[in-house]
């Protein structure tokens, strides 16, 4: 039998591990939002619904073609890259110089169309991918860690590192950062800003596509799932500072930890209250977040 103290410690360790695991996923969701926010000053209110759509794609591939989410992941990345391009090409491109409210309304309209489109086709039921490749848990003394979540964290880390390297060392990546810093100057230096916007939307939506697919391996899939995640993504992005890769990672991890610790030690029903309270406090005292723009 474990002593009370030891029990508490392993419980704490479990909670922290849960926080880090879910935080990695939040970081991956936040990074796409942060990229679009930073480069174009557009807050994508439909971000959570793209996430939901990705989870549904993964579910559809599983139920109609028998493909495991891990196998359909590359396919979904390509699909979501194109969806991102399409969003910019057909809708957002026309709104580049519009006031904030117009872009918010446009992404909100997109969000309604995506969310309730899936709602009508698939009904509001909760679905689950049964028997995925990733199942079971790792057990270390009394701590248990689901394998699906470990793999999700790894995928998130790989994606984030690749994205970071892309932004840091490639020519296109540098052009993206230049555009984020000053659109006009970048344009005058010969950066094809239109193309950069296209790439940014593509990358941002592809990231959320990866996040949605990984989420579907251990979470329910249902049409209204985006609502909670988009708010958490907002909180992560604001905490880290928009347009910054390590900011989004920091934000995601901190939000994951706050949520799990608050849920475990105060009240599970109020776990998101802490997240939003921290979010408002950060906005009040440090509106630019802890890491600036790139």
């Amino acid at each position: 039998m474990l002593g009370g103290r030891e029990m508490d410690l392993s419980y704490l360790a479990q909670v922290i591990i849960n926080g880090v695991l879910i935080g990695g996923l939040y970081a991956l969701i936040a990074i796409g939002l942060s990229l679009i926010w930073g480069v174009m000053e557009i807050v994508n209110f439909a971000h959570g619904d793209y996430l939901m759509a990705a989870a549904f794609f993964s579910y559809i591939f599983w139920s109609y073609a028998g493909l495991d989410p891990l196998i359909s992941l590359p396919l979904i990345i390509i699909i979501f890259l194109s969806i991102g391009f399409g969003t910019q090409k057909f809708i957002m491109r026309r709104l580049m110089d519009s006031p904030t409210l117009i872009t918010i309304a446009a992404t909100f309209a997109l969000s309604l169309i995506i969310r309730y489109g899936f709602f009508i086709v698939f009904k509001p039921d909760y679905r689950v991918i049964r028997d995925p490749l990733l199942q079971g848990s790792l057990h270390i003394s009394s701590i248990s860690i689901p394998i699906a979540k470990i793999i999700t964290l790894l995928v998130a880390l790989v994606t984030i590192i690749l994205l970071f390297l892309f932004l840091k060392y490639t020519k296109k990546g540098k052009a993206i950062r230049a555009t984020a810093q000053d659109r006009e100057v970048a344009k005058s230096l010969g950066v094809n800003v239109e193309q950069i916007f296209l790439i940014t939307w593509g990358l941002g939506i592809a990231c959320v596509g990866i996040a949605g697919t990984m989420l579907s391996t251990f979470y329910y899939v249902f049409p209204l799932m985006g609502v909670t995640f988009v708010l958490i993504a907002f909180a992560s992005v604001t905490l880290g500072g928009f347009g910054s890769v390590h900011g989004a990672v920091f934000g995601g991890l901190v939000i994951g930890l706050i949520q799990q610790l608050g849920g475990a030690f105060v009240s599970p029903a109020l776990k998101d209250v802490f997240v939003f309270a921290v979010f408002i406090l950060v906005l009040m005292f440090k509106p630019k977040g802890f890491f600036g723009k790139y």
Binding site: A109, R115, I120
Partner: protein, 328 residues
């Protein structure tokens, strides 16, 4: 003189519409559903006017309308249940509480620009919703049923929908007149200048933070008032139906659709979008849930892409052409 004539013409039309709105429901006594659609249109018209003030005139994108609405609904309901107080006092208390919260929130958050203020208000509303969902004192997730009283003006409860129809008609007209008055006042000019160029307005000596706060508080007060009336009409409130972000979203969509920062815009928007949404829902039955939102989404996308000034601007241009034709 010409202005006077114009006003008379405009006034005549308004007067006719008003008379029709007053007489009409007497023929619809046996059609409670149609009366309900009218009532919901009035509710959203007033809520949209409240949002128009902070969002359309002062240019601050708030997603907290539904939070203040819920504060009004919950305050009067709690007072009615526990102290047996008339909702009229509850209404007053709700408005005061909502305005105080708006003051606290606004004084801390209104300095944020654009997106940041929007997401901060979303976070605030979400916190309120989560707290109400788990707070046993206000019924938690089960919500509160209003105790049934003798049908009377004092308890704001009636057995037929007709008195509610007139109540919400008056609320809608009052809020529209309020926005009209503000539109014509010095304050309205200040709000518009803040929206156009906040730094510029500050340099011209306008106390921008004061005026933004003022708009936010008035807007919150109107929402709380409608919240009380709405609770009295529906007789049941719960966090999932009252503190629903879709309510604020609908208000924004209505204002955008009709015309941002105009008195007529929200009226047009509400009169078109709300009956349209309700109509699709009955046409498609229970399974049609969701279609109304898709139609809203598509309409907004079209408006935003092709006519971001809203449909009022189309009517205005059309009206000018007609006047030109009439003049020959």
């Amino acid at each position: 003189m010409k202005n006077g004539m114009n006003f008379f013409k405009k006034g005549k039309w308004l007067f006719l519409i008003l008379i029709a709105l007053v007489i009409l429901p007497n023929f619809l006594k046996d059609e409670p559903y149609i009366l309900h659609v009218f009532i919901m249109t009035f509710v959203y018209l007033s809520l949209a006017q409240a949002w128009n003030l902070i969002g359309g005139y002062a240019g601050q994108i708030s997603f907290a309308n539904h939070a203040f609405f819920a504060i009004g609904a919950y305050t009067s309901t709690m007072l009615l249940i526990h102290l047996n107080l008339t909702p009229w006092i509850g209404l007053f208390a709700g408005v005061v509480i909502a305005m105080c919260i708006a003051y606290l929130l606004g004084s801390q958050l209104l300095h944020l620009k654009g997106h940041y203020f929007a997401v901060a208000t979303i976070a605030f509303a979400e916190i309120l919703k989560l707290i109400f969902l788990s707070w046993k004192g206000v019924g938690a997730a089960y919500g509160l049923s209003l105790p049934l009283k003798m049908p009377s003006f004092y308890y704001l409860m009636w057995t037929s929908k007709l008195p509610y129809y007139y109540l919400f008609l008056i609320v809608a007209i009052t809020s529209t007149i309020l926005i009209y008055t503000i539109d014509r006042s010095k304050g309205g000019m200040y709000f518009r200048s803040i929206k156009q160029d906040e730094d510029g307005a500050e340099h011209r000596g306008i106390d921008t933070s004061y005026y933004k706060l003022l708009a936010f508080m008035i807007s919150a007060g109107i929402c709380a008032m409608i919240g009380t009336f709405y609770a009295q009409y529906i007789l049941y409130i719960c966090p999932r139906s009252c503190i629903d972000i879709m309510m604020s979203t609908k208000c924004i969509l209505i204002v955008l659709f009709g015309g941002l920062g105009t008195v007529v815009g929200p009226v047009l928007g509400a009169c078109i979008l709300i009956p349209l949404g309700e109509y699709t829902r009955i046409k498609l039955g229970g399974g049609g849930q969701g279609w109304d939102y898709i139609i809203y989404g598509i309409l907004i996308l079209i408006i935003v892409l092709y006519r971001p000034e809203g449909i009022y601007s189309i009517l205005r241009r059309y009206k000018k052409n007609v006047q030109k034709m009439l003049r020959g």
